[in-house]
């Protein structure tokens, strides 16, 4: 931190390091990873399972820290992110970089030694994908940033699965695909009513580059393959009726909300109720879908 009147650095508070890890994002990562771990066939000792989830959480924290290190200047231009430790001047950029790299190395190392090196390799790749491919390369350069970058957020259930089985089969790939195809409608709904914020920061989100009509078409378009992949585990006989019913109902509600977004013609954020509803429901959708899937798999086992 630097004092306002004199250029003197004060050490950052521990709360600022905690904020660097993006705890809210981490909670969704931990949850999907836990569901992947619980849904996997076989047995994992609770201590090793806890270690795997801890490493995935720390890896996600590393991604958040490295993302905030790289985007400090961009974050300062957006109201939503301007209070973060780096743009608010509460922490040195170098400290954030060291913290992020340290967390990444620690989480991958412990995962490899305590769990297995397949899950450690996947964790390392997902951190690299988020920090380098998404944050540094895709996000500032293409409106398709979150489509390809969504892969980074889709890895946790696969890593959770691999922690138990030591391999990656069709079902974890389906879990990956659900999050991968869920990400565009989720983020584009947010980008529609946060368009001004992203525009001010110079981030080429789809609404800023191609317009709101194209974005709404894409949201509705992506919702169909997402729903199909969400129901696929039941269709392929990898889950029971409980998940089959739940995924069908939840996906139907998602499609209805996406349809309302598609029909909406509003240009101002205050008139974008369907977009806000879809964004809020999309989070609930993913939580419920994965929770019921894990529960259903446990019942089947």
């Amino acid at each position: 931190m630097t004092t306002a009147s004199r250029n003197i650095s004060l050490p950052a508070e521990w709360r600022d390091f905690w904020a660097l890890t993006k705890p809210r994002v981490m909670s969704l990562v931990v949850f999907t990873a836990l569901c992947g771990l619980l849904a996997a066939p076989g047995h994992i000792h609770p201590v090793i399972g806890f270690t795997a989830i801890l490493c995935i959480a720390l890896g996600a924290g590393a991604c958040g820290a490295l993302n905030q290190w790289y985007e400090a200047d961009v974050d300062a231009k957006m109201a939503r992110t301007s209070k973060r430790p780096l743009p608010a001047g509460r922490m040195d950029r170098e400290a954030a970089l060291h913290f992020g790299i340290g967390l990444a190395a620690f989480s991958v190392g412990i995962m490899g030694v305590a769990v297995n090196w397949i899950s450690a390799g996947l964790l390392a790749f997902s951190i690299f994908f988020y920090a380098v491919v998404y944050t540094i390369w895709l996000k500032p350069n293409t409106p398709q940033n979150i489509v390809i970058g969504g892969a980074a957020g889709a890895f946790p259930p696969v890593i959770g699965w691999a922690a138990v089985t030591g391999d990656v089969t069709l079902l974890p790939i389906l879990l990956f695909s659900i999050i991968f195809l869920w990400t565009p409608p989720h983020f584009w709904a947010l980008a529609l009513f946060m368009k001004t914020d992203y525009g001010a920061a110079g981030i080429p989100m789809l609404p800023n580059v191609s317009g709101q009509r194209v974005t709404r078409n894409q949201i509705f378009g992506y919702s169909f393959p997402m729903a199909a992949v969400a129901i696929a585990p039941f269709v392929l006989g990898e889950s029971g009726w409980l998940y089959g019913m739940a995924s069908a109902i939840l996906s139907l509600v998602f499609l209805m909300l996406a349809f309302k977004v598609w029909r909406n013609e509003a240009n101002e954020a205050k008139d974008m109720k369907p977009e806000k509803q879809l964004f809020a429901f999309s989070i609930l959708y993913l939580f419920l879908l994965f929770a019921i899937f894990a529960f259903d798999r446990i019942l089947l086992a």
Binding site: T3, L10, A12, W14, F50, T51, L54, A114
Partner: protein, 51 residues
Amino acid sequence: MTQPEQNGFTAEETRIIRARQAARSRIMGVILVALCVLFFLITVVKIGVWG
């Protein structure tokens, strides 16, 4: 009234620095103890004492 300075910091800044250092040290202590316990448990599981 200007506060007296020590090592380039005012008394108030020194108090803030000490408080933050103490808080960070406490958190680090808790994390290190937790990691010691975790590594012990991992070792016990890996060598097969608990199957």
